[in-house]
């Protein structure tokens, strides 16, 4: 039973309130018709399965119903951060201790959560 910080509710909630939605940061190709079958197959079906830091998408299904991202260690199950859609992770396989300050974009330094998603 994970304990997950919802970046919109701004508090920790029980795993029962959430649904996992697979790997985060999968973007639908802007022009699907221009994709080869292989590229389209990659988008649809191929996912990472790393040992260690992984970025996942979850939805606060019994709660605010917002989708957001989770950086989770698949070995220890530790959740390093949760962040709204559209933002980039602070902790990555490359920077397991967190990205240096110059790698962070403005949105991460000052997240706006009250007004909703991507508004």
């Amino acid at each position: 039973m994970l304990h997950i910080y919802c970046p919109y509710c701004e508090e920790l909630r029980e795993e029962e309130e959430f649904h996992p939605k697979g790997q985060a940061h999968i973007t639908r190709p802007a022009d699907p018709d221009a994709c080869s079958d292989e590229e389209w197959g990659d988008y649809l079906f191929f996912r990472d399965n790393p040992r260690g830091i992984h970025h996942e998408m979850w939805v606060h299904a019994i709660g605010c119903r917002k989708f957001f991202n989770v950086t989770r260690n698949t070995v220890t199950y530790e959740i390093l951060e949760t962040y709204p859609m559209g933002e980039q992770p602070h902790f990555t396989a490359e920077y397991p201790e967190g990205k240096p300050a110059d790698q962070l974009n403005d949105a991460q330094q000052e997240p706006s959560r009250q007004e909703g998603v991507h508004v």
């Binding site: 039973m1 994970l2 304990h3 029980e14 795993e15 649904h19 939605k21 973007t27 639908r28 022009d31 699907p32 018709d33 994709c35 079958d37 389209w40 988008y43 649809l44 998408m57 939805v59 299904a61 119903r65 917002k66 989708f67 220890t76 199950y77 530790e78 959740i79 859609m85 559209g86 998603v117 991507h118 508004v119």
Partner: protein, 1016 residues
């Protein structure tokens, strides 16, 4: 009869029992007496009961070995009535209550004289090591045979056959710090945290808090240990920020400090929960604790030594001897031999002397033991045999002697000649194994500590440990360690720790312990007397040695091969000894061999506590519509659709005779085709969609076009996933230029809602649109059949003229005085009106329809009739005709796919792949059985050539199949390879019973193929 005669092993004074309260109990049919404060185990020992069980595999007589959760033998079946049966209760953990009835779990026909013991005498070839492994490799049918014999003979307890009168519940708890274990370290930790203002939960598995202090020889501040315990527990009990949970075992440590605690609330009071104030409290309770941090003060289990016949009743752990004497006032024998590797165990001999009984000798494996406790024993004149160990116990139903010799632990050799000491009790101690179970549930691998000769827990972030579990066995260390570990946790939680003044205690000078696990014997292990490692699973040192000889090197494999540490035991007493033996045989060290992983639960948890109140009619939520009461009163049979209870059919009862389902459905079908029927369609998912981009959004999530749908119009839509496979379908109505009402399937409602949000929130956040579920707000009543218009016209102000209110239009107005939206959509193929009204008024509308419907023989119908009618029209049900591998075109619904829409809608790209364009894909068709009386089986496989050798190529299957009263024939929908091009062909369905049905491939629209009836 004097008390001492009744309870020969009860000492006159001392212990935490109340001798003024005598309790009667029955064990294996015989009546005994004990006292309030006893466990079943202490009461049995007080009464001199030696044999409490027969062993699992060899059926050897077994007695009580330990005093707590680690007891391997004294498993009993509780319950005086069938309903009250509880299997596998440890007698050491069951508080005695008046009228308790217990039986041995193993032992058939009785523990004293056991037919199965023949197996034991034959040397156990019946179940050699690897028995489970080898059995599972054999044909499965053999296991069935073995299992019956084993279970009947050995028994593993049994579940009650009658309904449990008790109930159970869950309590969700939250705290800053969870402290597990209320011994010295746990108490000092809890006190520190509580005084610092943190929300604290302190749980302990025993009847009272205090842990080792309850049977301690120590003085705290010059007072007996329990005085300090009472002071601390009283203080904690007064504090609002503290929850004290005695009789509560922390059984599982799950992710992110979620810990399950099993509280036995009334099991010390009686076999069912007694009524209090007319109410029956829950018998046991699962606390689901979400802790900020946790502190494990779970103590340690004493390791017995592994020597010959160490399972004969009268062999015990040294600590258990102390506990029975000091806590329960029971001295479990007359003449004691103590075999030890360490100083601590000397307390057992001192306690035995204090109880006025004879200590024959202390056999110490160390060459020159020294230390304060050793000195105390010497001063009291106890014979100490140095550099020696008990090689083997004598006796069969009870220890009669101990054969003792000098040994060399390092070379694993007996070095001197042996001497047999007459005694009835052998206490042994090979050291202490920290109870690391909970820490290891977190996934942290324990590490071997050479100094304490045990595994100590590694700790994940937020978990702390204190006291014996970390190897701090001295009282002063444990107390101080509790405070400092609590301070660490508090600091992580952001609390300033309030220092606690600790009581003054003695610190003992102690000699180093010696590493001895299996005691050497003159004969090789495989030929010597049985040396038990795991008594519950009857695993011997020889079995482990044999496993290593057979090539098992990983301790995890040895465990599974021998069954060591299996079952309810979980290796509490035996695991470390087993690893040490494996290490010796493999020529490795214990840390090299490694430890097995402990998993939840620490001790067995009843199903009741796991289930809590989620049982019987609260097992799963049942969802009802606004018309539910009417359906019940009409005698509807219900069908589960997801969590919904939907009327399945409405059987009529005439002259006391109730229609069969077949007759009811046939009647309902004909009523709709020839008159008018009414369906409660409220369970359909309904989503309100508003916003300037609502129309654009619909165009992206549906395969068909939405750009031109005008207000007042309705359209059917197909929803695919991006792999091009159908996921849901339904109608969407245009309520206003920027306002739509989408319907989904009953089962798909929540999923579609989440799907829309997913795409909006993650891919197209720029689209201005909002989705809101209105499934529960609107009730939906379908009135359908040729007479539907006439009926509805009687109670509505809406103009129902067929020219102005056309098929696939919707209108608003009142129905039965209630504002409604009425939709001319049809799932039956007949003239249909779907009426949406605010659900609070729906029953009124429903009843008014019936008040006016009598003259039309208005017939309520259920989901079965709905299915038949829609299938006659070839209308699909997502999830029945489809299974995630079916495209709109496979269904013959290319008319609902808009390839020329400007935006690359969901599913479009995949529908242009070569595979989805194949002409031999499974395609939906109708099937007409050649024999009209046949109703094909749903799921039946279809072949082209029934004479083909087996395996026949299977070319499709039946997705829906019913009897049609209007066609007077069975009929089916099916998916068949290249089916659209095979109209008129005959296919075959070979059935399990050997029959083969023939059927013709036909159009899936069986009735009114031109679709005229819904337009009337």
């Amino acid at each position: 009869m004097s008390q001492s005669l009744k309870q020969p092993n009860r000492v006159r004074e001392g212990g935490r029992i109340d001798r003024a309260q005598t309790l009667s109990f029955t064990f294996n049919g015989k009546q005994y007496q004990g006292h309030a404060g006893d466990t079943l185990a202490s009461a049995l020992l007080a009464n001199g009961v030696n044999i409490v069980n027969r062993s699992f595999k060899y059926s050897r007589p077994r007695g009580i070995v330990a005093a707590g959760a680690e007891e391997p033998n004294a498993l009993v079946q509780l319950g005086s009535t069938e309903a009250a049966q509880v299997p596998n209760v440890r007698a050491t953990q069951q508080a005695l209550f008046d009228g308790l009835v217990a039986r041995s779990t193993n032992g058939w026909p009785n523990v004293q004289r056991d037919v199965m013991s023949l197996v034991g005498k034959l040397g156990g070839q019946f179940m050699p090591p690897g028995f489970y492994y080898k059995t599972f490799m054999a044909p499965a049918s053999m296991w069935m045979t073995y299992e019956k014999v084993i279970r009947k003979g050995a028994g593993l307890g049994r579940s009650p056959m009658e309904r449990d009168p008790d109930h159970y519940d869950h309590l969700n708890q939250h705290c800053d710090l969870l402290v597990v274990g209320a011994g010295p370290a746990g108490l000092s930790a809890a006190l520190t945290a509580a005084r610092s203002g943190a929300r604290v939960i302190l749980c302990d598995e025993q009847e009272e808090m205090g842990g080792s202090l309850l049977d301690s020889r120590e003085q705290l501040d010059g007072q007996p240990a329990h005085h300090w315990v009472e002071g601390v527990v009283n203080e904690l009990a007064q504090m609002a920020n503290v929850t004290l949970l005695p009789r509560t075992t922390a059984n599982g440590y799950h992710d992110h400090h979620f810990v399950t605690l099993h509280e036995r609330r009334t099991e010390h009071l009686g076999e069912t929960a007694p009524l209090t104030d007319g109410q029956r409290p829950s018998r046991s309770r699962m606390h689901r604790v979400r802790a900020g941090q946790a502190l494990l003060a779970t103590g340690a289990h004493e390791r017995p030594l592994v020597y010959g016949n160490n399972d004969v009743p009268g062999n015990m752990t040294a600590g258990a001897v102390s506990t029975y004497i000091r806590r329960y006032g029971v001295v479990p024998g007359n003449k004691l031999v103590l075999s030890t590797t360490n100083d601590y165990a000397y307390r057992a001999a001192l306690d035995w002397l204090d109880a006025g009984r004879e200590v024959v000798a202390i056999v110490d494996a160390r060459k020159a033991p020294e230390g304060d406790l050793v000195e105390q024993a010497r001063v009291r004149g106890v014979r100490i045999i140095e550099g020696a160990a008990v090689l083997e116990a004598k006796g069969s139903d009870r220890v009669t002697g101990a054969r003792v010799a000098t040994i060399d632990a390092e070379t694993f050799k007996v070095t001197g000649s042996s001497d047999t000491l007459l005694c009835d009790t052998i206490a042994s101690s090979g050291g202490y194994s920290p109870a690391i179970h909970l820490a290891s549930h977190t996934g942290a691998r324990p590490t071997w500590n050479d100094e304490i000769l045990g595994f100590v827990p590694s700790l994940v972030k937020g978990v702390h440990a204190a006291g014996s579990v970390r190897g701090f066995h001295q009282l002063a260390d444990g107390l101080a360690n509790g405070c400092s570990a609590a301070a660490e946790a508090l600091s992580a939680l952001g609390f300033a720790a309030t220092p606690v003044e600790l009581p003054q205690v003695n610190t003992y000078r102690q000699g180093a312990a010696c590493a001895l696990y299996q005691v050497p014997h003159e004969k090789p292990t495989l030929r010597g007397p049985k040396q038990f490692v795991d008594m519950q699973n009857d695993v011997t040192a020889a079995a482990i040695e044999l496993a290593t000889r057979e090539g098992f090197e990983s301790i995890e494999h040895v465990k599974r091969y021998t069954a060591m540490g299996f079952g309810t035991d979980q290796g509490k007493l035996g695991n470390i000894n087993g690893m040490a033996i494996a290490a010796r045989c493999l020529g490795k060290t214990i840390p090299e061999v490694g430890t097995t992983v402990f998993r939840p639960n620490y001790t067995p948890v009843t199903f009741g506590a796991i289930v809590g109140r989620h049982c019987r009619d609260l097992f799963d939520p049942e969802r009802y519509t606004a018309m539910h009461q009417w359906h019940v009163e009409q005698g509807a049979e219900f069908e589960d659709v997801g969590q919904w209870k939907r009327p399945w059919y409405f059987p009529r009862t005439v002259n006391g005779k109730t229609e069969s389902m077949h007759d009811a459905v046939a009647r309902e079908c004909l009523a709709v085709r020839q008159g008018v029927g009414i369906l409660d369609a409220s369970t359909l998912g309904k989503i309100d969609i508003q916003g300037p981009d609502a129309r654009e959004f619909l165009g992206r999530v549906y395969t068909n076009k939405w750009a031109k749908l005008a207000p007042g119009r309705v359209r059917y839509g197909l929803m695919c996933k991006d792999d091009g496979m159908l996921m849901d379908d339904g109608t969407t109505s245009c309520l206003g230029e920027n306002h739509f009402l989408m319907t989904t399937t009953t089962g798909g409602a929540a999923g579609v809602m989440e799907w829309l949000e997913l795409w909006h929130q993650t891919e197209w956040p720029d689209l201005q649109v909002y989705f809101n579920s209105v499934t529960d707000h609107w009730a939906t009543i379908t009135v359908t059949g040729p007479e539907a218009r006439k009926l509805l016209a009687e109670i509505t102000d809406i103009d129902l003229d067929r020219e102005t209110f056309k098929f696939m239009d919707w209108r608003e107005g009142t129905v039965a005085d209630v504002p409604a939206r009425v939709f001319r959509i049809s799932f039956t193929g007949e003239l249909s009106f779907e009426i949406n009204v605010q659900a609070n008024y729906a029953l009124h509308v429903w009843k008014t329809l019936f008040a006016h419907g009598e003259k039309y023989d208005l017939t309520p119908y259920g989901t079965e009739t709905m299915h038949v009618l829609r299938a006659e029209k070839g209308l699909i049900i997502a999830g029945q005709e489809t299974d995630g591998s079916v495209t709109p075109e496979d269904l013959g619904m290319q008319w609902a796919v808009g390839y020329d829409k400007p935006f690359p809608w969901i599913g479009k790209r995949a529908l242009t792949r070569s595979d989805t364009r194949r002409v031999d894909r499974k395609q939906m068709v109708g099937l007409m059985p050649k024999d009209p009386s046949v109703v094909l089986e749903e799921g039946a496989q279809i072949v082209f050539d029934p004479d083909h050798a087996i395996p026949m190529p299977m070319v499709g299957h039946v997705t829906s199949s019913y009897y049609s009263p209007i066609l007077e024939s069975g009929f089916a929908l099916a998916v068949i390879k290249g089916g659209h091009q095979r109209m008129g062909e005959i296919v075959y369905l070979p059935m399990v019973d050997g029959k083969t049905h023939a059927a013709e491939i036909v159009s899936p629209v069986f009735y009114d193929p031109k679709g005229e009836r819904q337009h009337v």
